[in-house]
């Protein structure tokens, strides 16, 4: 049953990815409805899938790579929906939903076996660590999409070649503002996730610094990139193109780290 709903979700996100893209270019109201509808269906079936799986395994979706991928995809959609509702920037979907689909697609090839659940005190820190980090990553995925849109729009205004996307996409200010806002949400969560992860490590008797360097170094890089964008804006007015590039770079690094973790 959780497999069926997983497949429905996977297919819905694929359909939605196409629909959002077509909507971006052709602006047909019917396609817009199709896009929202299929993402909605995807989210619903994914929620069911996660729910069933959690009731079977007896814990939340944060132990195995498969579960983490599922959870990340789920939060990306949730945060995307919240952003769309708040900002009314439907075109973000054309960049976020394909990523969601990709994360889901990768998780198809991951082991579906239930993970080990550690004892209760460690479990608390593990849950907190993974959940906070995942929400942080999901927020960064929106910053990534806003960053791409910013670069496209900026390029058009700068080079004075005002193509169809110039008219379709929101203003530079809105995209830059959105980028900053989601990073403002994502960065503290990610930082907390990092800290709780260290605590979890300590509880596992691995010691605070006994990290697997190869696996954690990229995350430190990720933290630095977002930290630069976050504090840079407040301190020196780092914004616009550089902030957009930072958001893109950071998210590419996250995806890289993710692959590093599951391989």
């Amino acid at each position: 049953m959780d497999k069926i709903s997983f497949n429905i979700a996977l297919f819905s996100y694929l359909l939605a990815s196409f629909a959002y893209f077509v909507y971006l270019v052709y602006r047909r109201p019917l396609v817009s409805t199709l896009a929202s509808g299929s993402v909605g269906l995807g989210l619903l079936s994914q929620t069911i899938s996660i729910g069933i799986r959690s009731s079977l395994t007896g814990h939340g979706p944060y132990t195995t790579s498969y579960e983490i991928a599922m959870f990340l995809a789920w939060f990306m959609v949730v945060i995307y929906f919240l952003t769309e509702w708040k900002y009314k920037i439907k075109d973000l979907g054309a960049f976020v939903i394909p990523l969601v689909f990709l994360v889901m697609l990768v998780s198809v090839f991951l082991s579906k076996e239930a993970g080990l659940v550690p004892e209760s005190e460690v479990r608390f820190w593990l849950t907190l660590h993974r959940t906070l980090s995942i929400i942080g990553f999901a927020a960064f995925s929106i910053a990534f999409a806003a960053g791409i849109m910013y670069l496209i729009q900026e390029h058009q205004v700068k080079t004075k070649k005002l193509g169809i996307m110039y008219f379709r996409m929101p203003s530079l200010e809105v995209l830059d503002d959105l980028n900053f806002k989601v990073i403002t949400i994502g960065f503290p969560l990610f930082t907390l996730g990092f800290m709780t992860g260290s605590i979890w490590n300590t509880k596992m008797d691995q010691g605070f610094f006994a990290w697997d360097l190869a696996r954690t170094m990229p995350l430190v890089m990720v933290w630095l990139v977002y930290g630069l964008v976050f504090f840079g804006r407040m301190a020196t007015g780092l914004r616009g193109k550089k902030a957009a590039q930072g958001a893109i770079l950071g998210f590419v690094a996250i995806i890289g780290t993710f692959f590093l973790h599951i391989l």
């Binding site: 047909r28 005002l162 203003s171 530079l172 914004r239």
Partner: protein, 425 residues
């Protein structure tokens, strides 16, 4: 079609008729209701709507007979304004049925406007319609036609980019400003030089919400005068360089022979702005701002040629979108016609059934006279039986006629039925 009343349209517009003539033919809003009532009181005219704007005067009507209707409407326009017909014949255009419907859809979707895609015309068509409705000069068909026209216009605006792009220098500039800053309300504009075009662009920006305005000019008095009209504050020409970083949009239009804003100057200004974007509009010829300024990050520089290119591209794009709009309109015309032709089938079907019923009644009553042995119940049964036979026989022709009248050659079937059943005699 001989059967039903027809749609016609008579009018003049900016393409067919010079303004000296158009202005004489315009209907004043005050007298519009009286004109509509006068027209509809004619036995030839069933419904009518008068659309009178500065670019067109058109009368849409449903008439008993197409040719007579067109003549009558043209005469009405001439007589009303006291102009002889002979002088005007060359200017009038007239359309009927499909073409009239298509014309109205084009007009309300702004495909027939002087500036393609402008938004004003739809409001004018709506006004014309509501005036006509309130003077009761419209009926089922024109109501349906105009409501449909509003839907079509909405659809065209939503599904094509016909009115998406600015087609004047100042509207293209506002569009760009809105793509850089979104909401213009919390942003400021600085005019360096008091050129007419700069003033126009500033007014346009102000109408979109810009609140803070600075004006700098070599002659302080001119700056002060313009600042007063724009409700802004005047600056000494030399001090604009110091104040430059305060403005989000700078419009330059001085007569200076060399660049007055250099890259280094702008670099400093953008640093003082903490990298907040700045939009520079250089309307001056020779230019006021060094083109290298555009290389700076978060600085967007457009000179007069850049803006003109944007306008030209937008114009072309509107033309292209007009073709998409025509596809929508053609489709909607067909849909409207299908609806309109079913209207025509109805009177024919009613006449056909009445005729059959009359025949049945006469025949049954004639025969029942010789059947006195039957009880009144029996006679009633015979009536019911024959009615049901007539209904059965007419059932298929009725259904098929309704169906056929929705097709292209519907009028042929109608004509045939009317001929076969002798309905026109």
């Amino acid at each position: 079609m001989t059967s039903g009343p027809n749609l016609v349209l008579v009018g003049v517009n900016h393409k067919t008729t010079p303004v000296e003539i158009r202005e004489k033919l315009a209907f004043s809003q005050a007298k519009l209701e009286a004109s509509l009532e006068e027209l509809v009181s004619s036995p030839e005219i069933i419904e009518n709507i008068i659309l009178s704007t500065c670019n067109r005067v058109e009368i849409y009507a449903r008439v008993e007979n197409t040719d007579r209707g067109i003549q009558l409407l043209q005469d009405f326009i001439c007589d009303y304004h006291g102009i002889s017909r002979g002088n005007l014949d060359q200017y009038f255009y007239s359309f009927c049925d499909n073409q009239a419907v298509e014309h109205l859809f084009r007009v309300s979707s702004s495909l027939d406007s002087m500036v393609l895609g402008e938004a004003q015309i739809l409001g004018q068509v709506k006004d014309a319609y509501s005036t006509a409705r309130s003077s009761s000069s419209t009926g089922m068909v024109l109501n349906q036609l105009f409501e449909k026209a509003f839907n079509v216009a909405k659809k065209v605006r939503e599904e094509t980019g016909i009115s998406e792009r600015g087609v004047s220098i100042s509207s293209a500039a506002v569009e760009l400003a809105k793509k850089i800053f979104e909401d213009l309300e919390n942003h400021s504009v600085m005019l360096v030089g008091t050129g007419e075009m700069a003033e126009l662009a500033a007014k346009h920006l102000i109408s979109y919400g810009v609140k803070t305005v600075y004006v700098a000019s070599r002659t302080y008095e001119r700056a002060a005068a313009l600042a007063q009209t724009l409700n802004g504050c005047a600056l000494d020409f030399e001090s604009f360089k110091e104040e430059m970083h305060k403005a989000d949009i700078i419009i330059t239009s001085t007569a200076a022979p060399t660049f007055i804003i250099q890259k280094e100057m702008m670099e400093k200004a953008i640093q003082r702005r903490k990298n907040k974007p700045i939009f520079l509009i250089d309307i001056a010829v020779p230019r006021d701002i060094a083109p290298e300024v555009n290389e700076l990050e978060n600085v967007y520089l457009y000179d007069i040629d850049d803006l003109q290119n944007v306008v030209n591209a937008n114009m072309e794009e509107r033309q292209k979108e007009a073709e998409n709009a025509m596809d929508i309109i053609k489709h909607e015309v067909t849909k409207f016609n299908n609806w309109f032709s079913t209207l025509d089938a109805v009177p024919t079907i009613v006449e056909m059934r009445n005729q059959a019923e009359d025949m049945r009644k006469i025949e049954v009553e004639k025969n029942l006279k010789n059947m006195d042995h039957l009880s009144s119940d029996d006679k009633d049964s015979i009536h019911l039986l024959t009615q049901s036979i007539v209904n059965k026989i007419l059932h298929n022709p009725t259904i098929n006629l309704k169906k056929k009248t929705q097709s292209q050659d519907g009028h042929i079937y109608l004509k045939a039925i009317r001929h076969l059943f002798h309905l026109d005699d």
